[in-house]
């Protein structure tokens, strides 16, 4: 459930993902992985290196550039008893597989009256500042969080990357898991033994009394950095990682906001109609009579991500913007 106090070893975020997939493939022969550049290439971010050597090309399947096609293969395989992991290299490309994800995977269990299950994992990425320009830098997890029938996980570190991936693979519903491509080399403690992280259970990453900062994915690290700066000026920030946007642990965030009476939501998706809006509204509704300030949110700037590094950096939430916003909410000059 929570990060172990003493971890014997550290893994990178990418290694944690790979370990989760490898362990689940050893545990369950129905698990296979399909996508572009996943076998010999080991994925552009080298997350899958070595898997094809262990499991062979029948379980680590390279495809042409054909997201709608191989996503459909995955959905069909899941309906007929397999447990596929469909690799969508960049989160931006889920737009290509959207019919398979939204209209097929999310619906089949319901439209078959529960006779069919679609135990599929779409693993993909989010996150800007990699200088990859507007078509390879978006964080589109709000799109799928919007769809009934889908579960959406956003691991915020190596420990979460392994635990949430294992839960996703074992879940009988379609799960979309977004990994922040900027975190693959981030190191953190990861238990060697088997563990899972339940969906719909938020984690308090840091306790505080003055403001609740709800942050997702790599924004958890940003929020924790801002919390340190806030502490220096006497503001105690409580940082909460929902870990999944659906199911969403509203109660944990409401309870925290009731305690602190202020809330700030940080997420790297576009701010407009975004994940931050959903979470902020849940807090505003659930903690209304305990709030001493409007619930604020910070998402990515509502622009196509610029190629210019200077401009790109300005579009995403940073420790500084989170710090300044939180400070203003707490009425500290």
């Amino acid at each position: 459930m929570s990060t172990p106090e003493v971890a014997a070893r550290e893994l990178t975020y990418g290694e944690a993902v790979r370990e989760a997939i490898a362990e689940e493939m050893r545990r369950d022969p129905r698990v296979f992985l399909i996508g572009e550049d996943v076998a010999e290439a080991g994925h552009p971010f080298k997350v899958l290196t070595g898997l094809v050597q262990e499991f062979g090309t029948k379980r680590i399947i390279d495809t042409p550039i054909s997201e709608p096609g191989y996503a459909g293969i995955g959905v069909g395989a899941a309906m007929t008893g397999m447990r596929p992991i469909v690799d969508v290299m960049f989160g931006d490309f889920i737009t290509l597989a959207m019919d398979q994800i939204v209209n097929q995977a999310a619906k089949v269990h319901y439209m078959s009256g529960g006779k069919l299950k679609v135990p599929i994992v779409f693993r993909t990425t989010l996150g800007a500042t990699r200088r990859s320009a507007a078509q390879h830098s978006q964080s589109l997890h709000a799109w799928v969080s919007h769809i009934p029938g889908l579960k959406v996980a956003l691991p915020s570190g190596p420990y979460e990357a392994k635990g949430l991936m294992k839960t996703a693979i074992r879940d009988d519903s379609p799960v979309v898991i977004f990994e922040d491509k900027m975190m693959y080399r981030t190191k953190g403690p990861v238990p060697a033994e088997d563990y899972t992280i339940p969906f719909g259970v938020a984690e308090v990453k840091r306790a505080g009394t003055d403001i609740t900062i709800v942050a997702t994915s790599s924004m958890v690290g940003v929020a924790l950095g801002a919390a340190k700066l806030l502490e220096e000026i006497g503001i105690g920030a409580e940082v909460i990682d929902p870990r999944t946007t659906y199911p969403l642990d509203k109660q944990a965030m409401i309870d925290s906001a009731k305690k602190t009476s202020r809330a700030l939501v940080v997420d790297e998706g576009y701010e407009r109609y975004g994940v931050t809006a959903e979470i902020a509204s849940a807090i505003a509704e659930g903690a209304f009579y305990h709030l001493d300030a409007p619930v604020k949110r910070i998402g990515a700037m509502d622009v196509p991500v610029p190629f210019s590094p200077v401009l790109e950096d300005l579009t995403v939430p940073s420790e500084r913007t989170v710090f300044e916003t939180a400070k203003a909410l707490c009425r500290k000059a």
Partner: protein, 390 residues
Amino acid sequence: MPTDVIMPALEMAQETGKVLKWLKAPGHAVRKGEPIVEIETDKVTVEIEAPASGVLRDVTARAGDVVPVGKTIALIFAPGEAGAAGPAAPVGPAAGGVPTGAVASPPPAAPAVKASPAGDGTAARLTAASPKARRLAAERGLDVSALRGSGPGGAVLAGDVVAAKVPVAEGVGTVWRIMAERMTASWTTAPHFYLVREVNVSRLVSWRERASKHTGARITYTDLLVKLVAATLSQHPGVNASWQDGAIVRNADINIGLAVAIDDGLVVPVLHRADTLRLVDIAARREDVVSRAQAGKLRAADIQGGGFTISNLGMYGVDAFTAIVNPPQAAILAVGRIADRVVAVNGQPVVQPTMMLTLSCDHRALDGARGAQFLGALAELIEEPLALLV
């Protein structure tokens, strides 16, 4: 026919009673004689018992409601009686049966809400304040619009409410509130006058010692005073009276109330027909009601029917004081401490134990002469209790 549960009249002049708390919920079975509701009058809080066994239904008075005496506040249906089982007559269409979404007949449109003119609560809304600040202000009984706001545009924030200086209001209990109301009523309606007399209590002191030794009971000066006041009242019935609707009403019995300080305030339990009681009985009754008063376990009967009140502050070292008449009674006797005082006897200064008595009178029911005659007779009895025998 179901049995009515009515708002009872616990006192003569009572017009309304307040429902404090239902001890049984509608639909629950009750047994005859079982307490079902707590009622507060302007004198006391009592539990009302079920007048019959059955199922409590049709509760029309909620906690906090003030209801005229005699009004039905609930019904008790006998077991098996129509209405005893099942819910009370349903209001509106029955729930269930009609699947959600299937609209057989459209629900009646909500009655159009008349646009309310500014004024009712709108003023408070004009003050910018955070939800938390509003909640905290309401909890503290503060008006947010009266607070200085430190938020954006002068909005009142929680911190402003917390920092606001509030007069520390100490919540008072029912007993205290009733005392306050009754004393105000007496002070503002009964024209008071006071008669003061210092009495020699040498005999009273020795009498108390002998009575205690003789009976083995703990006899107090208050007990002796009850006995002597009762005897004096029987000779001066005009003092055992009250002013009611333009007439002086004499009380049938001699019922003497004792002002008793308890944690919550002041209560006046009554020793009924004190003139018929022996000293030991007075002591026993007094001990019983005073200890129950202090434990908050007085019953309605304990405080009803008082015709005259004694208030003794001698144990607090008070020499003399003037009391406020306990309405609707005509008089109250305020008793000071017994102390050795220098008095003139036959032209010589002599030291004697004396006590200061102050009789407060309602001038509508008593005049100075009648009050003085009563006080004189009482003083003579105190100075020579033997007169009781004659």
